[in-house]
Symmetry: C2
Subunit: 195 residues, 2 copies
């Protein structure tokens, strides 16, 4: 039986890739992704699976993550960006190769869970937002975000991505352009609706 | 004699394009641009001239600004962006055609004074920053920005552009991508130096 269909083995495999705190976060994202999927009409099982796998190689040495990206010809633009972004793109490759995950929707949800992108799918939005609001998260504004996520996926995601941009600028850090484009895209589609 | 060399006629011509408040702002930008040019080694006369001309068609009807851009094949991306951005790109065209301004450095400083861009020239930085800190400006943080501009052009400009991005996100508005790229570029070149 594939590890993807053997929950106990899968959890043990995921657990072995990361520190305990990251594993607890992972379970939180899977749970929140499932709840958001139910609320907004995404596939529940895919959302939970993407949540379980989203940070698969987050705790790997940065150089190991980088090597995955280099082997797959990722552009220099990404390799020169904040190293915190590597794990999402590398993770989508690794779970396909090592665990046999072939579902393109789940792979894209893993790939874009940190940066976002233009034209995010429903599943991508659910996983990206779950990563912000899972129960173990504690940052200024997270309660407001959770309340917004009760009502409106797009508004909550725009607020979450906007918050990330705001935070990076406050720290005098670069902002990965895809994240701004993701934010702009959602704002544009909200068409002047504000909150 | 070209109007560009007849200060009295030039000022009257600029004055005729705009409301009084905008004209007072224009004189402030010209003055601040000259001071910043002196401080950071740009051409004083070009900085002042770019300051005088930077908002030449800011008070024109939006449709008149848009027509200038359409006649010059500006991309749909700009035409779909915030209309507040039109005047800078249209202004560079208009002052060339109507006033005979042919200096490419001055034209670029006008063109990019609102959005910024990657690899801004010294003159572009001076005019862009002068637009933020001229004496008539009053917004939260402007005093801090003026103090930073006493010391470091790049830090002040990164802070100014970052402030604009922050403000737009707080208003749930789209951010023109060039502005983020301009901010990222300066942060990157500052190479981890913070303030």
């Amino acid at each position: 039986m594939s590890i993807l269909h053997d929950r106990e083995r899968l959890l043990a495999q995921i657990r072995a890739q990361m520190f305990e705190k990251r594993y607890i976060h992972t379970l939180g994202v899977a749970e929140s992704a499932r709840i958001l999927a139910q609320r907004f009409g995404a596939d529940l099982d895919k959302a939970e699976m993407a949540g379980l796998l989203h940070d698969y190689c987050k705790c790997w040495e940065i150089d190991r993550q980088r090597q995955v990206l280099i082997r797959h010809d990722y552009p220099a633009e990404l390799l020169e960006a904040d190293k915190e972004l590597y794990h999402a793109f590398a993770g989508a490759i690794v779970v396909q190769q090592e665990l046999g995950m072939e579902d393109p929707e789940i792979l894209q949800a893993i790939r874009y869970h940190t940066t976002g992108r233009v034209d995010m799918t429903l599943l991508e939005k659910v996983v990206c937002l779950a990563d912000y609001i899972e129960p173990n998260r504690a940052f200024p504004g997270v309660e407001e975000l959770r309340q917004l996520a009760e009502q409106d996926l797009d508004k909550a995601l725009a607020q979450a991505l906007g918050g990330t941009i705001h935070l990076l600028i406050g720290q005098r850090k670069q902002v990965y352009p895809l994240t701004l484009l993701a934010y702009n895209d959602i704002i544009k589609k909200l068409g002047g609706v504000t909150w």
